[in-house]
Symmetry: C2
Subunit: 290 residues, 2 copies
């Protein structure tokens, strides 16, 4: 596991929707170094919305055009962006370390703005993390050299990440969590046509159950475009799939703020933009006080 | 006191800044009959701001242009506007009655969005309301026919409202709470060159004190472009000059919501727009439930 350190940021924003971009814009206004991190090919509900009528100032605008306008403004103001999935957030003495793919990014404050979509974990999955279940091929792949691996993937990017494991593993089975293109996989990979239903540990192996059978592996890798809140930051309080915040967008973890759809209903562009704005100002106040 | 009834509204929004206009736009999206009420010549901080950089989607825009864009969108969506100062809000069995100048407007829900500026009451003022101190010439003027009146006015509109009283009163003294044009007043009005400092009741009269003297009247009228929160809606909980709200922009009074600068810092356009949006949706939910 090779980790590259990026210099310490003032504020890292997880997500590039209206809340994340609004937060980044106001953070720059306040003179903060702001970095946005988000997976490359996120197809949000907003990007597909044909027309939004109630965002004040830009009536009758498509979701894609709204996002493009917000993004251009953020870029113009010097916001930096990095593509990648934040796999974990670790509190440190100076702030936080974010694991993004196989890199580490350090920051003093974090704003979670990754929208409302949350991955559905498989029964048994959470208990097995680090005990045979992993989310990072480059991080943990070498532990499974010459072993029998199962991969559970939600997207084509997961198939691409699998290629790294194919070279190491004795054998590799591939399950699709959602329908996607798997052409990239070599013929040595056995593509299982059934959805995985649950995971369990049995006699040192991880067993993946499907509707009609069971498949046993030394290790299982799961590739999705999002991470569950409990795995992202275990100390973070949640209410269902939402993050409770106060009026200053503060979560229960000092230095961690949240904004937009991930804080709960209503799921609206104007609400997300306002919350991103407030989160940036609360983060600036937090930085000034620490 | 002649009161004209306007038909029952779904939602009345007090204030026409970013919060009020955003609220009205989303209320219309939800199919609600929305009415905005605000004084005619409000010169807000925003309208005078040369450039706002951090409202997402409209970078480098003047405050006046932002407001004009929001207002055009609200008008386009069928929001109605009424000029006037809301003097009081009275809870009724079906919702609320708003006293606007000498009219009554009925509504099922109210969103308070009148910004952060709050009038500074004079010492003694609040205790004397209805006991010789009044805010409405057309409502209460007739009670003082042939009496000695004092007028405390913050603006030229106050001077205009005074004309109605001049015709009734035996004598009328005029004090300026803030510097403004008083050319409209007839020569029979005695303009006092000193700021009023406090009010008190003494032997059936209202005494206005200034730096160098005391002036005694049968009644005192006070004309400002805003009403203090305590007088607007006595049941409304306040924290200093702000209105505490929950994440759904609900105040402590069911059916009354608040949004924008009047709910507290940060005083930002994006925050106000987001809160107006949320308040509209909470009001729509309230209407659906009642």
């Amino acid at each position: 596991m090779r980790l590259k350190n990026i210099e310490m940021m003032d504020i890292v924003i997880v997500g590039k929707g209206p809340a994340g971009l609004s937060c980044a814009i106001t953070a720059r206004m306040r003179g903060l170094e702001a970095l946005i991190i988000a997976p490359p090919k996120t197809t949000s509900w907003l990007a597909k919305t044909e027309q939004i009528d109630n965002y004040p100032g830009l009536p009758k605008t498509s979701g894609a055009d709204l996002l493009a306008a917000f993004e251009a403004q953020a870029r113009e103001m010097g916001v930096t962006q990095r593509e990648g999935l934040v796999r974990q957030i670790l509190p440190t003495d100076n702030g936080f370390m974010l694991l993004v793919e196989s890199d580490v990014i350090e920051t003093k404050t974090i704003v979670l703005a990754m929208g409302a979509a949350r991955p559905q974990l498989l029964p048994g999955e959470e208990e097995l993390v680090g005990m045979g279940v992993s989310y990072c091929a480059t991080c943990d792949g070498m532990l499974y050299r010459g072993k029998r691996l199962g991969v559970l993937s939600a997207s084509e990017e997961g198939a691409e990440e699998t290629l790294f494991l194919v070279k190491l593993a004795e054998s590799l089975d591939y399950f699709s969590l959602k329908k996607h293109e798997t052409n990239v996989l070599p013929v040595t990979v056995k593509v299982i046509g059934e959805q995985p239903q649950s995971l369990r540990r049995e006699a040192g192996s991880i067993v993946v159950t499907t509707k009609t059978g069971e498949h046993s592996y030394d290790g299982v890798f799961i590739f999705r475009n999002a991470v569950s809140l409990g795995m992202l930051l275990p100390d973070l309080a949640t209410e269902g799939s939402f993050i409770p915040v106060d009026r200053g967008m503060r979560t229960n973890v000092p230095g961690v703020f949240a904004a937009g759809d991930c804080t709960g209903k209503p799921l609206q562009v104007a609400k997300a933009v306002g919350e991103g704005n407030v989160a940036a100002i609360s983060a600036a106040e937090y930085l000034a006080a620490h």
